[in-house]
Symmetry: C2
Subunit: 210 residues, 2 copies
């Protein structure tokens, strides 16, 4: 019987190597690669076509987990991604599954669940535990998943807001009326479904608008 071939992608070397050691203990699983970001991962799978599963961290430099998911979808890869994240957050989970993830594990999971997840996903089934399922459902019901599209000007304004400029300062810099910027701000808040600037900036960072 051939082993399940796994690649680990995480920017924290210590975590990556530790995880490798843990997975090594499983007889039916084999770690064939270990990378620190999405670019390195793509390079590996270009050369090595026989990869079953990638254990994927979300927050990585250069090319993060979301980008990798998107890429895998684009090239119609058969590699099944399992997200290993520290974000216990419905938003993240929904975005991952939407982007083609087969599983979502939290970093405080245990070896047993990790192995179950790998085996489940290897068979082509999705894996998510009760906790993740709950978070997802809560998120779905409360929030519309579809992210509204922020226009070019709005993005520009958003950048300046995040730099700490006021409406007036932004207006001066962009040579338009303050009222225009006010309108932009109101539209951005509406599109991202947030109450105020504080929440806006957090969300914008989260969905990589900034």
């Amino acid at each position: 019987m051939s082993k399940i071939k796994v690649i680990i992608a995480d920017d924290h070397e210590l975590f990556r190597n530790g995880l490798t050691e843990l997975v090594k203990k499983q007889e039916n699983i084999e770690v064939i690669g270990s990378v620190a970001d999405g670019n390195q991962f793509l390079n590996i799978i270009k050369k090595n076509k026989e990869v079953d599963i990638v254990l994927l961290d979300i927050t990585m430099p250069n090319m993060d987990g979301f980008d990798v998911l998107k890429k895998l979808k684009d090239i119609k890869s058969s590699i099944k991604p399992i997200i290993i994240s520290m974000h216990n957050d419905g938003n993240y989970m929904a975005k991952c599954f939407k982007s083609g993830a087969y599983g979502y594990l939290l970093k405080n999971t245990d070896e047993k669940e990790l192995n179950t997840a790998i085996e489940t996903v290897y068979l082509g089934k999705k894996y998510f535990n009760t906790e993740v399922t709950e978070k997802m459902i809560n998120f779905m019901s409360s929030n519309s998943v579809s992210e509204k599209i922020i226009s070019k000007k709005e993005t520009e304004v958003l950048m300046l807001i995040s730099k700490g400029l006021t409406t007036k300062e932004i207006a001066n810099q962009l040579f338009v009326s303050s009222r225009t910027i006010e309108t932009h701000r109101a539209n951005i808040l509406k599109k991202l479904e947030v109450k105020n600037t504080a929440e806006l900036i957090k969300k914008a960072v989260k969905i990589k608008l900034i």
Copy 2:
């Protein structure tokens, strides 16, 4: 020759177990315990007095790394703490060393450095690499250490701000006056040297305060 006795404290089980496996590979080091928060750690060292080093994560539930450092100092423990953190930020580093840490490693360090750090600290010397030293110096020279450390309450307020709550809402939730929250906000802005909430949230995300 007796082995160096190490305890690992981190709330992410996967990381903790992985780290244990990595350290196990060293012949002169022995992992005698593995805990998920500061309380568990204190319970262990009450029973077992022969501990040399604790590999300590900062962000943990119930009792975090800072609390543990403080406690170790209080009881005049001989256990030497090495921080293993994902916060690549002078603020954190300074606070840790001030609280009695013997070393500060980033989670993207490698096995080799980890072992070097453990061995160095075991001999009673402090360990910090070039990167950490640089960050520390930059931080120190930019401003006085204490001024930039965000207190626990301030962090709590910051979290609620980032969730989109207003001053009044935060005050209600924390059962204090709005004026108190206003003061906290003003102090946070000052400490992080930002002009307004928008810039604040961006910076807070950047240095992983939220």
